[in-house]
Symmetry: D2
Subunit: 465 residues, 4 copies
């Protein structure tokens, strides 16, 4: 029996109840709903809107209910629609009039907006923690293989040699932006909507600042209609998660590629792969593939939320109930992915010999040759052209660049000197790139050290087995 | 213990098992997986690839397993990954060597593609049936209020009067296209992938045509690599569902608008509305709002699936496992929505008096006046301009169009005749539109009759209470 | 000066005119708009709604205007909003009253819906033709390299050997579904909306069937409100294009991978690659990369259109004007991509030696060994397990599968016979897969022949240079 | 003739050139590309990598080229691919060797990343400025109608009366979050990627900090591979624009609704509406409708960009070229929309009498009655139930709430007192909500004043006519 049905002459149709009920999924919000109600009740008591004794009873009973839910002894009822009504109805059932005073001066519209922000605050923290752990796993892997060198790719073609650790650190940078983006999001949504009522505020002397302080909000919302209509924070958060998922998908792609027979740069541990039901030899990088695939559902959740809000008139409309399942799923997806990536990398086998062999393709050092010419005064475009001609010359003869003699090189590069023949070493190439941000070994070590220091208090995740 | 782990030296990490397992959701496919296995086993026996006795044992045991699952006595194990492995492992546990012969000549790659197509065939049928029921509810509502007239809107502005039934029939047309689109989708995907193996076919003399016939497929796939890499049918199906959801969202929008205090054209039954936790007077069209909002998740599922497939190299990649949850959710969402719309409309109160009052706004008949002039030989653009001037003239004087005298009308419309003053009737306006496809009462009755006939065998859904 | 401004007291603000004008892009529809107007005018004349002489003048002048536009001598004016008004205003300017009679009994709402369907009909044909040309290029490439063999991948890992032609034919199948999907779409939208008027039909005795016949439509729309509110056909068409783009993205991904130094299976011609501004050695598969990237904009256009329609009340709303630019862009993108893929493949160098070397990895034949055991009566699961153990045994000893002696093999595979040692040949493996749909050479030749026959009338595209 | 083609033996195919060229749209970046090149050239000179004289010549010529482009006298060539190559080729053509030295130590990969960030910095500023102007227009409208009162809606149903200005201020809050979100985005991307080279940094002693200072960046990127692979800033920016577009769509929806005949709360000026080609009486809120519809393309651009990046391996891939057109279109769309909304509202007619009449629906004050009871000690749930019963009681008798006598009221609300009968005034209702964030007149005035102060330096946009 709904708590709002005074004006109704018929009960809700069962089909409707099933269609509109959200308790199956929004019960996930119960710790936040109860925290919100406790703060509200305390304020109502302190502000003299209800008796202190009633406020105390409400708070005590809410804490009891919270414990029951924690211990799985609370009975959720779909006919009570949502997490709010399940808890409030139980409260009223147990406390009578005192319980019936809890919902004074508030609406589910401002209540859910408060619950969601409290919930989201914890999720921001969770995702940030997992991002830090993933960063740490990558940094540790870089430290463990700090001299490994592989062919850096552009256009999926051999470009220039880079340190494996430098490649890993690129992802550490991406995840750092993710942490910072989530922090900005958190800062923006951490204001209290409670007190906005259904849409217009309240005629009762509520103390919103007090509630905000109790719940750890940095302030209160300034416009009641905006407060109940707003789901910007979910879109912003989902967009941030979409970027995390996208970063993971790029890392996953690199991993899948590196583990192919043709590349053979890494091999994931047996514990982090699965096999084939048909082909006995298979050992597949399923985690990385799933990580890549799961990007789709996070993008979908973002698109779903944007669709819901498009053209929605002010203020609260029931469409907004649809803001939760996609959000929960996106959080679970991203958290689950980050949780598994760290141990996957921590246990991976790095084939640095295969990497280095691939990195020894002399074509990777063509730029070094061009830049050597520049240092000798040849205009860059001219240097580029001459080296390009040299590449073509070798290619026509099916000859590797480092098989050419100085004389042969001079056919296309007149200014070539004997030391040019020594440039075709990936180690030398890398060592020559000590510019800030570059792949030079000292620079990379410096970065690794900086990150180790920054992440030293982050707890490492290890495999769960 | 995985069935594929001969070549593995370590068990799967627990975190990995949780991340990669799909049995929690893909067990929904069990009737199709078992049907597929039964057909495969029978074929293996008939083709002499395994002994007939073994085939019979397999088929019998699969039927037993199916019954156990139906009756909720089957134990699903997450460590067995997916629906296929759960069933096959149980079979082997019970039958030993005979069970171990089932997976001969097939892979999970072609097996899941077969399961999904079988599943989808049933879902196409389900959604088509629900679409038909929704059409029937709308047609019945139109028949019950066949003379109701309301202001047709363009740009959300009064445009021309239309019959309420004509408005409803617009949705009947949309849903008809949905039925047809699903049919095309079904026709395209109803070919058997089994026999494609992991990606290359099989070295065993499988009889694919036989399996296709047993499972009701219209044919077999022509390329094994395509067969296991293909998820086009899911995208096409999800795009069709996105259109259904979009149609429902437009119908929902009309409903929400009509039930506003300002329009007041319909009132949904109490059993199909919910109230406010704060505002005692509220009775909200929540179903329509949720229907509108749920469009987002269907769009999201489509976008998610497209994202998964983008740039995926051939053939099967584990990313494809992510094809299910969004699909299941989209189906549940659309089916749930269609199921609730029919009884919602069947029980709605139609305020045809309020509709007609609004439809009596004389500005709605301005086009009739222009077309009257055209029939008298005035070029349309000139007629349009004169009537526009007449509208402006009345507006400047804050006068309704039908309050003007003939003399006043002639100031802007020189050719006006006394009968022009009689054009400002919504009934006359509607009656004048008997062109095929138009809102004339005879035309609309004809359409209603045609649809009643077409839908007469469709079982009506009524409220579930 | 707008043709509709009789009732307006002020001109449109310049900013508004710029914001609302669509002529810059919708002028692309002019051939269809004029065809539509000619058919409409002829019908008005034949039905006696306007004088035959007027109808003739209109038709002649419209043909003159069409020629002027063809020859770039027509002046488009942004202040006339759209393609319809530009043409009609010019007609009136030149013909006076006769011209002013053209818009009798129609609205821009049904006019644009007609124009778009006519336009789309041509685009369906164009895309189908380009799909056929792409199929032909792939089939020709397969024929030219019909014995080339490469390692088929699942999970981006060596799985089983397949013929290169078999791999190409997988895409031919995908494109075939695209052709068929577009055909279904065309069939569904090829009905005439004209006559629906603004939303309610017309009071004039229009002959809609006559117009439909003149314009090649299969019928007329049955509900005027649906006819002007409907953009389903655009969503359906864009979803079909999204699938084409997705297929191209998968083919592009394969191409990029194959051209990497590590795979080295193909090399695109210099004319179909570009270089690096910095690295002289680079030759990048830019076309394939762009093809893959362009998928995003097609998906975006689909999502944009779905967003526009979500929750839009009946009937026409100006939001629908936004249906064009995304559509045009998606068509241009997909057509441009298909046009360039065919010559790119036609001029590519196939390194069948590198393919075959990779395909000789004996692990690719592990399934053949398991299926050999099955033919000898070993249950498949047992066979799979034994071969898996054999793989692990070899791996522990860093030994290739085909380096093991029979005795060594029997440690894990007791039933192994000397002929097992001969299974590690990719040619034999492929030859053993003559099941329909499989990669056996005879099957693949059969498929190639079938497609050659089917595509023989398709004009080949060659490079444009 | 491409500048990179030393190693190529054939020219680019014409079809390929057309497919890959981006100059048609990326030329929009020329001011940023030239600024970037000037800073780079100066640094090369100052660091002694090239001669100072060469650096000066380059800078002077680049300034000349910039002026030519500004004045439309520069000839863009599609065969030179992109904005970078067009400018550099011209430079080399004019300066010879000196010009050929410009590209020293950089790649188009880090160059475009720098150009885009410079461009984006200006766009952030532009959008922020337009958001401020829109806020100002809304605040001004609120000030001009500070006493207007309308029925606040939840679920599109009459909920509680609110001040019109309070409703407008809800959007001012949304746009404020947009401004802040763009600022965070800007802060995050405002670091210099130049110096990352193609992917690995440079062997030349570049001074990246100097270039950063010259170009107004807050720092330099820390990882060269990340620097060239990163497009996070575009996704973040597009997500911020999607939120702006969504806010505009909600404001547009409110506007469309308010201008309907049934609501009649506002009327847009003739200069901000357009008419119908068929219906002479029509005056449509096209701008608001287009604003709502244009949301789709912004969402589509975001989805397109996310799709491009999904699963893209490091580092630069040509897919990234597709990052521009969607971005440019989204910016143009959002900027164009904001530019037209401000004058549209500035010139709108507010029908405050119609608003107030609608706000006088006594059901809107039901919550006030319940809260009155709460102040008298009735538990809220009980108060809610009694008032709900009262609503139902009146409804059964087809009676307005304020037509009931005290005696009648007491049948369902025993504690009712005479003053309850006075609660049915929207002015009193609003006046009772002076809680911070609420719709009380003093609170709203305070907000208006605060915003006026904050926005006083923002230049008002007026109509362009």
């Amino acid at each position: 029996m709904a708590l709002w049905n005074g004006r109704f002459s018929r009960d809700t149709d069962a089909l409707v109840a099933a269609y509109t009920a959200s308790v199956d999924y929004d019960k996930r919000l119960y710790p936040y709903d109860i925290a919100c109600s406790i703060a509200h009740a305390e304020m109502l008591g302190e502000a003299g809107i209800i008796e202190s004794a009633d406020a105390c009873m409400i708070v005590d009973e809410l804490q009891a209910i919270r414990q029951e839910i924690d211990e799985w002894t609370f009975e959720w009822r779909q006919d009570l629609e949502d997490v709010h009504m399940n808890i409030e109805a139980t409260l009223i059932e147990r406390l009578g009039d005192a319980g019936a005073r809890l919902h004074t001066g508030r609406s589910r519209n401002d209540q859910i907006a408060t619950d969601e922000r409290l919930y989201l605050r914890d999720q921001v923290e969770l995702i940030q923690k997992l991002l830090r752990q993933t960063q740490k796993a990558l940094v540790n892997l870089g430290v463990a293989h700090s001299t490994a060198i592989l062919p850096g790719l552009t256009h999926f073609q051999h470009a220039q040699p880079v340190l494996f650790a430098h490649h890993l650190l690129a992802y550490v940078e991406m995840f750092e932006r993710d942490v910072s983006r989530l922090e900005d999001c958190r800062r923006r949504f951490n204001v209290l909507p409670l007190g906005a009522g259904a849409l217009a505020g309240s005629t009762l002397p509520l103390n919103r600042e007090l509630v905000a302080r109790k719940l750890g909000f940095d302030g209160v919302t300034a416009n009641s209609m905006d407060a109940v209509a707003d789901r910007d924070y979910l879109v912003e958060f989902l967009a941030a998660l979409a970027l995390v998922a996208m970063h993971c998908s790029r890392l996953a792609e690199d991993t899948v590629v590196w583990m192919s027979q043709e590349f053979g740069f890494i091999e994931l541990d047996d514990a982090f792969c699965t096999g084939s039901s048909l082909m006995p030899q298979k050992k597949n990088p399923d985690i990385a593939e799933l990580t890549r695939g799961k990007t789709g559902r996070v993008y979908g959740a973002l698109m779903g939320m944007l669709t819901i809000l498009k053209g929605l008139p002010l203020t609260y409309n029931r469409d907004l109930q649809e803001d939760k399942e996609g959000l929960f799923d996106a959080i679970d997806t991203v958290a689950g992915t980050l949780a598994v990536l760290a141990p996957m990398f921590a246990t991976a086998w790095i084939h640095s010999d295969a990497m280095e062999e691939a990195a020894s393709d002399p074509a990777l050092m063509a730029t070094d040759l061009a830049e050597w010419l520049v240092r000798g005064g040849v205009p860059f475009r001219e240097a580029h052209h001459q080296v390009g001609r040299f590449v073509a010359w070798c290619r026509e003869r099916d000859m590797a660049l480092n098989d050419a003699t100085l004389g042969q090189m001079r056919e296309t590069i007149p200014a070539a000197q004997p030391e040019c023949l020594d440039l075709f070493s990936p180690r030398k190439s890398v060592a020559a790139r000590e510019l800030y941000g570059g792949t030079g070994p000292d620079r990379v070590d410096q970065q690794l050290t900086t990150w180790q220091e920054k992440l030293k208090h982050v707890e490492s995740r290890s495999s769960s087995t």
